[in-house]
């Protein structure tokens, strides 16, 4: 923990040296992620509900998934650069240092500019809050924390996959960035098979969809059991366990490229 903070802080100071560039990257991180929100806005100029959800409700889904993803991405997203480190031989350096390689990977090149993405998601979430009844507001922080854990686990699984597929790191993007794109919209717009897949196999439905059904008081379009709405912490724990095992297995079978 202390090591992580020290490394991350070093990177923040390094990037803040180039002030204009740092400011530009924060603004662009904000703007580039705002495009998805703008797209939702444009879609809702043509319809009043999408998949049975109003604009505010979709903004709530977008906001919760966006905040969770932005936090996970900022804190741990850099583990997705594993294949670069393996190819450059810099991963070997991390293995012999007295700090956990996962911590080093996560903190390496810590992108403080990603605060732009976070800010954008927080704004959208804030604007959507009028749809949240007071009595159910307690679920919002719970779902965000679970979302961070789930996305971090997905990032870690993607990184672990790169121990095997060093040449195809982009494959993981389908699950990480694909995951955040998926959860920005109500899952009711997607096909039934896909929704079952992200409920029971890659539990992305627990990032925001299932708890949001509870918060918004909506029926489940697929008629899945009601207790799933409270199962996010369980899903987050299970997926983290799988991710941790995969990461360890990856490190154990890792053979240096020898450079």
């Amino acid at each position: 923990m202390g090591d992580y903070l020290l490394l991350a802080w070093t990177w923040v100071r390094a990037s803040a040296q180039y002030r204009t560039s740092f400011a530009v990257s924060i603004v662009s991180s904000f703007a580039i992620n705002a495009l998805d929100a703008v797209a939702i806005g444009i879609v809702f100029t043509h319809v009043t509900t999408l998949g049975g959800f109003s604009l505010r409700e979709v903004m709530f889904l977008y906001g919760t998934s966006g905040v969770s993803f932005a936090l996970a991405d900022m804190l741990f997203g850099n583990v997705e650069r594993l294949s670069q480190h393996i190819r450059a031989g810099t991963f070997d350096t991390m293995l012999i240092r007295p700090v956990s390689p996962f911590v080093q990977m996560a903190a390496d090149g810590f992108g403080a500019h990603r605060i732009g993405r976070l800010a954008q998601a927080v704004i959208v979430l804030g604007l959507s809050l009028p749809v949240v009844p007071w009595s159910r507001a307690w679920m919002v922080p719970v779902m965000i924390v679970c979302g961070v854990v789930i996305f971090t686990a997905v990032f870690t699984l993607g990184a672990a996959l790169q121990f095997v597929l060093v040449d195809a790191p982009e494959l993981a993007n389908a699950f990480t960035y694909g995951g955040v794109t998926l959860t920005q919209y109500p899952l009711s717009v997607y096909g039934e098979q896909l929704v079952r897949g992200v409920t029971y196999i890659v539990p992305l439905a627990f990032v925001n969809w299932q708890p949001a059904l509870y918060v918004l008081g909506q029926p489940d379009p697929l008629g899945l059991p009601g207790w799933l709405r409270f199962a996010s912490p369980l899903a987050a724990l299970l997926l983290s366990a799988v991710a941790a095992l995969a990461w360890r297995a990856g490190i154990r079978r890792y053979r240096s490229t020898g450079n």
Binding site: S21, V38, L50, P169, A174, Y177, T181
Partner: protein, 260 residues
């Protein structure tokens, strides 16, 4: 004649350089397909609620979605600069600027080679997957191919300017992000431009970014007459390449070669 052989070689090198990374390209194609599926469902939900929106039928909207996912590789919709960007930072660009073959044509040939490879590796898979999982309409006019190539040339012309801008701004990261932002949004990758409201639509449809994605897709769908589509693309190709040539000349005066 010798010139032609040189550019053909460069085209081949561009093709071969990228074909080394087959696994990476296939992983990219997979990711593009997954995103295609996600976008397609949102568009289907939208078109089921509002059939005929933007002049497309539901099938045409789905076709648009998977076609444009296939454009990401060849047209470099994420706005990534050209490979000589690193050479500007290291100063090696000085050699490139004094070569007997102009930098613009040199990198254009290489980039077309790259695009040709990525068309095979990253455009075909999402399109085929889209046709299998959903349905897609077949191209209505033979003009799709020239329109597709012109889309790549316009994309090159834009990225050439973005890359060369690093000669003036010492930090090029901001430029690249700005480019990604503009390209992604105004090309039609986010949503078909026909859905944009009022003036935003007018601006987007007149921009060079539309010439990269929206226009070739519309030629495939027959949503726009081929002559006006190709004319529009040709205009932007000539304008951007012309500007690129001017900027190269300016860069040549600007670059100071340090001795030693």
């Amino acid at each position: 004649m010798a010139d032609f052989v040189l550019y053909l070689r460069l085209f081949q090198y561009g093709f071969r350089r990228h074909s080394t990374y087959l696994a990476a390209a296939l992983a990219g194609a997979f990711t593009n397909t997954v995103f295609g599926v996600l976008r397609a469902y949102v568009l289907i939900a939208l078109w089921e609620a509002r059939p005929g929106l933007a002049g497309y039928s539901l099938t045409e909207a789905v076709t648009f979605c998977f076609l444009t996912q296939g454009f990401i590789g060849p047209m470099q919709v994420f706005g990534r600069g050209l490979s000589f960007g690193d050479r500007i930072r290291s100063g090696d660009i000085a050699f490139d600027l004094v070569r007997p073959a102009p930098l613009l044509l040199w990198s254009l040939s290489e980039d077309l080679g790259r695009a040709a490879y990525l068309t095979l590796a990253r455009s075909l898979p999402p399109s085929i997957a889209g046709a299998v999982m959903f349905t897609m309409v077949l191209p209505v006019s033979p003009w799709f191919l020239p329109s597709f190539v012109l889309g790549i040339v316009v994309s090159f012309g834009w990225r050439y300017l973005v890359t060369l801008a690093a000669c003036w701004t010492t930090d090029d990261r901001g430029m690249h992000t700005l480019s990604a932002l503009l390209t992604f949004f105004f090309s039609g990758m986010v949503l078909p431009l026909g859905l944009f409201p009022g003036w935003l639509r007018t601006v987007a449809e007149a921009s060079p970014f539309a010439a990269m994605v929206q226009v070739p897709a519309d030629v495939w769908l027959g949503a726009e007459p081929a002559w006006s589509a190709l004319g529009f693309q040709l205009f932007w190709a000539v304008a951007l390449l012309g500007l690129g040539a001017l900027l190269t000349a300016a860069a040549r005066r600007k670059v100071v070669v340090q001795g030693g």
